[in-house]
């Protein structure tokens, strides 16, 4: 199945739809024979990966699009075997080190070493280096990040790293300073709407501008989500109408239900039910920060201004701890408990005023 998002993904740096100025600069960067390590960051659905694939194509030609999947095995110092899925072409290898949890350090060190030690077979007309793409660098453990710093310097001659992150606040400064950091901001709503229109024209469909704007709003300035939503809309109802229903992601609905549960009753028993819901979300792979954000957004709707401020400040505290801690569920649950306590007090007080 070929989705619109994948089918109409720009494959040339010059054909990107937004941040064109940056694209031109990137092109001139790789036209020189060498370029530094890159750290590309920005929110989800802003086009980081697209940009990087364009860049690789610019570097190596269409050969980078012939991808193959491989499972690599590494041995940790404690003799445990960890497996990780990699996607690679002849010129680059892409890996998501956070898949192996706390063993990410081993993966980074060994992977970069193996890649860096094999030279390109045919160096004529090719670049002298390979590229390693590391996803979700901000979720790497501190250990892995330090290991990365060392490997970066050591193998700079034979391989280039492209790191992808959502935010660089959790990337250690040592790595930040060794890379050229490139920020890819989320596209504006009008930019998304124009992309949607463009894609629809390519599919020879007609989209009303109001719907395009509504899609852009609903997708939270995430272009990927907007395109997927748009295609889902098309499947559900075509021709488009300006006020047609836009399907929401399942997890968002689930979080809304959970929030309703929290607001319905503030007892330890209810919290137990909420916990089960949270478990379900986490096990299905919804990132904890998205759960946190979604919950806060839903809960805050039912608060007055002073309480909003209070709840948001607590949410910030617990979210920060969640980032630093191990078990996301502990912190989400602590936040829910805190909210329940505050909300219960609020309800009791307002009831007292009424009588």
């Amino acid at each position: 199945m070929s989705l619109w998002v994948d089918k109409h993904r720009p494959r040339d740096l010059m054909k990107l739809d937004f941040h064109t100025d940056q694209a031109v600069r990137l092109k001139s960067l790789v036209q020189q024979s060498d370029f530094p390590h890159l750290l590309v960051y920005g929110p989800s659905g802003a086009g980081k990966k697209t940009r990087i694939m364009c860049l690789l194509r610019e570097l190596y030609g269409s050969g980078v699009e012939r991808l193959r999947q491989e499972t690599m095995t590494f041995t940790t110092p404690s003799n445990k075997k960890v497996e990780i899925m990699t996607v690679s072409s002849n010129y680059h290898i892409e890996v998501n080190p956070t898949d192996v949890g706390i063993h990410d350090r081993v993966v980074i060190m060994d992977l970069v070493k193996t890649v860096a030690q094999t030279h390109q077979i045919d160096s004529s007309g090719q670049r002298e280096f390979k590229v390693v793409i590391l996803n979700e660098v901000d979720d790497l453990t501190k250990d892995a990040q330090h290991a990365l710093r060392r490997t970066m310097e050591k193998y700079v001659a034979t391989c280039r790293l492209i790191l992808i992150a959502n935010s660089i606040s959790r990337v250690i400064p040592a790595i930040r300073s060794r890379c050229l950091t490139i920020r890819v901001p989320a596209p504006t709503e009008t930019e998304i709407a124009s992309v949607l229109k463009l894609v629809c024209r390519k599919e020879s469909l007609n989209i009303p501008p109001e719907l395009a704007i509504r899609l852009a709003k609903a997708a939270d300035r995430n272009l990927r989500r907007a395109l997927l939503m748009c295609e889902a809309c098309k499947v559900q109802q075509y021709p488009f109408t300006a006020d047609q229903k836009i399907p929401e992601p399942d997890w968002q609905l689930f979080i809304r239900e959970t929030a309703a549960l929290i607001l319905s009753e503030q007892t330890p028993k209810k919290l137990g039910e909420v916990r089960q819901k949270l478990y379900e979300l986490i096990i299905h792979g919804v990132p904890p920060d998205m759960i946190f954000g979604g919950l806060l957004k839903e809960l805050v709707r039912n608060c007055d201004m002073s309480m909003k401020c209070q709840v948001a400040s607590h949410a910030a505290t617990y979210e920060h701890r969640m980032r630093l801690g191990n078990k996301a569920i502990f912190h989400i649950e602590a936040f829910v408990a805190k909210f329940m306590a505050i909300y219960k007090k609020f309800v009791e007080e307002s009831m007292g005023d009424a009588f």
Binding site: R224, V235, H331
Partner: protein, 498 residues
């Protein structure tokens, strides 16, 4: 006569160890015991006389005997629970009459009386026990400094147990015999498959029952019983398995009373007669381990060099409140300087934290029966799993959301601290925060029976690309598939598919 015999047996395998101490015991025990007693006492007295008259230090000549004298002789003396003894007795009775290679596995915590039960029963039924003791498997280096390895351990082991099982001793024509293995050769721990082969051989060729005795520990990796005797192995060779529990305090007390009576009858020269309090202390501090209890009692009752009462070195813990406690039959006095640490299972620990018991001291202030400090001391080696257990189970004990808020917040703090696993102190503080605040936060606990649940396995299951009708080499994996693709792929896929 006996000396001659001892020399004679040398032509046989030297590793055949005829238990010299055991032999006289095989005859009717009462006689030998009464004979032995004067022997035990006399050398002590004579040595004391040799020394200067003023000091009178007590030296026991034979190192083995002081513990041996207290060993149970009859089945009734055993501190093990009657039912267990019966179970073993049944097995010994049925097995020793038919010459089969039956197998028995006895497991239990250290010092719960596994070996002695078997030995006592063996004497009762006149069965000869031959025990394997793993020899040193390398020789003294040759003149070139090379180590010459003897036979493989497993081969020697098999030879030994077969010989022991099939040939009766020349010294007595008792054909009821039994092979005992307590000391497993290392090679079996490394490669359990070798052990299976040995057992197979034994099953085919041997004509005597064999008994394996394994101590159990709480940590799994040292559990030889679990490692060697897998369920499939037990099934294959029809190994009868008897598990022992640690000795109950009442049984232990009875056993110590017996020791007390032996002391008061025969060993007043060496020991002070232990008082009931001392025995109670020993029982409390030995955590169901008979061997260690007897050792502790021995130490506690020894007459010091200056003939002083050893009581000074016994610190009955928290003596000040012991009166109040004793009314509730919860003697908490135990030796501070001796004894084993009480081992607390993780479930037990969770219970202590979530159902904290408060007692009032004489001064009127309140106090936990199990203080947070004691609890964290038990679990400091595994703080993360303990906190996980607490988190999973604390909620049903709370009735008020404000208290839950405090508790949840503290657990969140604890997780934050525990994440810093490099710092030893952080681990301790994290655990302390979780334990102490959970104990304190709950002002209105619900008292109901709540089964303790294990922490959830939080393995994240990401959808595969195929599930979402995507190509195998799709650009994205994991998180992004869930957050963006999943819902829409389902919608689009369903419509295009039909």
């Amino acid at each position: 006569m006996t000396n001659n015999l001892k020399k004679e047996k040398k032509w046989f395998k030297p590793m055949f160890d005829f238990d010299d101490e055991e032999k006289p015991a095989k005859k009717s025990k009462k006689e030998t015991h009464s004979q032995k007693v004067p022997e035990d006492i006399e050398p002590v007295e004579s040595e004391v006389l040799d020394l200067k008259a003023g000091q009178k230090p007590i030296i026991i000549k034979d190192h083995q005997h002081w513990l041996k004298t207290f060993e149970p002789v009859k089945v009734e003396d055993l501190a093990v629970h009657n039912k267990k003894v019966q179970e073993v007795e049944e097995w010994v009775k049925t097995v020793c009459n038919n010459n089969n290679s039956d197998m028995l596995l006895m497991t239990g915590p250290v010092g719960c009386g596994k070996t002695i039960t078997l030995r006592v029963l063996a004497t009762k039924y006149n069965v000869r026990i031959t025990e394997w003791i793993t020899p040193v498997d390398i020789d003294i280096p040759s003149e070139y400094g090379e180590f010459e390895f003897k036979q493989r351990q497993s081969v020697r082991f098999l030879d030994f147990i077969l010989n022991a099982a099939n040939f009766t001793s020349l010294l007595d024509d008792n054909n009821r015999k039994l092979v005992l293995v307590e000391d497993f050769p290392n090679t079996f721990l490394r490669t359990p498959s070798e052990f299976t082969e040995v057992l197979q051989q034994y099953r085919q060729r041997a004509k005597s029952p064999i008994v394996f005795i394994c101590s159990e520990t709480h940590t799994d990796n040292k559990n030889s019983a679990a490692n060697i005797f897998t369920p499939s192995l037990k099934e294959q060779f029809k190994i009868h398995h008897i598990t022992f529990n640690s000795v109950a305090p009442t049984n232990l007390k009875a056993a110590l009373k017996r020791v007390d009576s032996i002391i008061s009858r025969k060993h007043t020269a060496v020991y002070n007669c232990p008082t009931a309090d001392v025995i109670e202390c020993v029982v409390n501090s030995s955590a169901g381990d008979v061997r260690s209890a007897v050792l502790n009692l021995h130490f506690a009752c020894l007459k010091g060099g200056s003939r002083q009462n050893m009581d000074t070195s016994i610190v009955p813990g928290k003596e000040s409140k012991s009166k109040g406690v004793r009314k509730k039959k919860q003697t908490s006095s135990k030796f501070m300087s001796l004894g084993k640490d009480q081992t607390v299972s993780i479930l037990h620990g969770v219970g202590r934290v979530l159902n904290p018991k408060v007692i009032e001291t004489e001064t009127g202030s309140k106090k936990f029966t199990h203080s947070p400090e004691d609890i964290i001391e038990q679990f400091i080696s595994q703080p993360i799993s303990f906190v996980n257990f607490l988190e999973e189970n604390y909620l049903p004990h709370f009735s008020n959301i404000d208290h839950v808020d405090k508790a949840a917040s503290a657990i969140s703090d604890a997780d934050f601290m525990l994440a810093e696993w490099r710092e030893k102190m952080c681990q301790e503080y994290g655990l302390y925060t979780a334990v102490a605040s959970l104990m304190l936060a709950n002002k209105a606990p619900i008292s109901a029976w709540n089964p303790v649940r294990g922490p959830k396995n939080m393995k994240i299951q990401y959808p595969s690309a195929r599930e979402l009708f995507l190509e195998e080499n799709h650009l994205y994996k994991g998180k992004i598939l869930v957050s963006d693709y999943q819902t829409y792929c389902k919608i689009i896929g369903n419509k295009t598919g039909t």
